[in-house]
Subunit: 231 residues, 2 copies
Amino acid sequence: MTSGVPDRRRRVREALTAAAIDLFLTKGYEETTVDEIAAAARVGRRTFFRYFPSKEDVIFPDHEARLVRVAEVFATAPQDEPPLAVACRAVHGVLEAYLAEGVIAVQRYRLTRDFPQLRAREIASAHSYHIAVTRYLVDRVGDEPDGALWAEVAASAVVSAHNHVLRQYLKAGGKGDVLGKADRAFRYIRETLGLTAARADDADDDVVVAVMRRGMPLANVMSRIEDALER
Amino acid sequence: MTSGVPDRRRRVREALTAAAIDLFLTKGYEETTVDEIAAAARVGRRTFFRYFPSKEDVIFPDHEARLVRVAEVFATAPQDEPPLAVACRAVHGVLEAYLAEGVIAVQRYRLTRDFPQLRAREIASAHSYHIAVTRYLVDRVGDEPDGALWAEVAASAVVSAHNHVLRQYLKAGGKGDVLGKADRAFRYIRETLGLTAARADDADDDVVVAVMRRGMPLANVMSRIEDALER
């Protein structure tokens, strides 16, 4: 769904994607030609290539638009929103776009599982989110000591949490509380890797005393400390 | 360097890689043919394809062997070594392999920066480490609540820390304290994401009291807590 693109273009694009998915699932990826996809969508071969640069791109029709929306989240994020919160919000938008696709996303998952060329294309897509998020985080904290390292690690954590939650959902045929799991996953990342955000907070000097058992799991220690510090 | 492979095979392989890097750097990737690479290494085209499945593989001659070594680290790691420590150790081995290559690694970095096909191949390689590490961590902690999520996030953090440190080093032409930076990066990851390791520790029930200022950076809070808990 590319906002601003006329209806007819959107319809042709969707028809090509639907036809390609159908053919790939029934005949196989290698065995399907661009001509067959175009014919099934009732357009010509040249029209196909006006929409997609190659056969493998046809099942990722929305990738560029999603990257644009991620960039928009970064461009419009308030400067006082913690960088990792912005990153999670942007990647959450990508997740929502997958969910909005419904069965298409489930079918694409099956295709990327079965056909290495499509899997390679999917890995490259995920990597482009990693790069976009890393760049944003570097912009925000790259000047701090180890900021660039943190940016890259945090970006990969956010993107891989998204990938994990989404993959479980698609593997289950599009079932399960994917949004609840995503919230938990992103909260985990913000709690564990949100150091730089915390560092940037305004500090005051109240004393906090925390009491805990030595054997308490570190996760519980952390959450008790965070409560005490009201973060 | 593949241990157990006869010297002649190793020499031919290295000659093909050296010839390819030289040609790619001077003529460009697209403009160089497999026949030219083979001729420069004084072998035939068919010999080339006995060593490498495609032109893009020739600059990653050691990739499979590195994956094997990662798998060996996982297969031989003691069960009481924290999973994230094993993961860092395995990926550190990959870093050492890059450093042992010397100028080849720097030249490959330039090629992957300049030629998208080689960059895509590099991304796929990095992804194969991510998958290997994720699988190992899932084996170790997949049964715990959110263990699979943690495994994937932690694996991506370890691999991206490696990538970051290595890329900075290669970008600088192979200069800088890469091992010191890697140690710091892996320590950071173990300190922030090592929750599952901590959870598996034997617990006793001494009470620990920690006192801190509310404005203390979370990193300092964490390190004070870890000291108090003697982890």
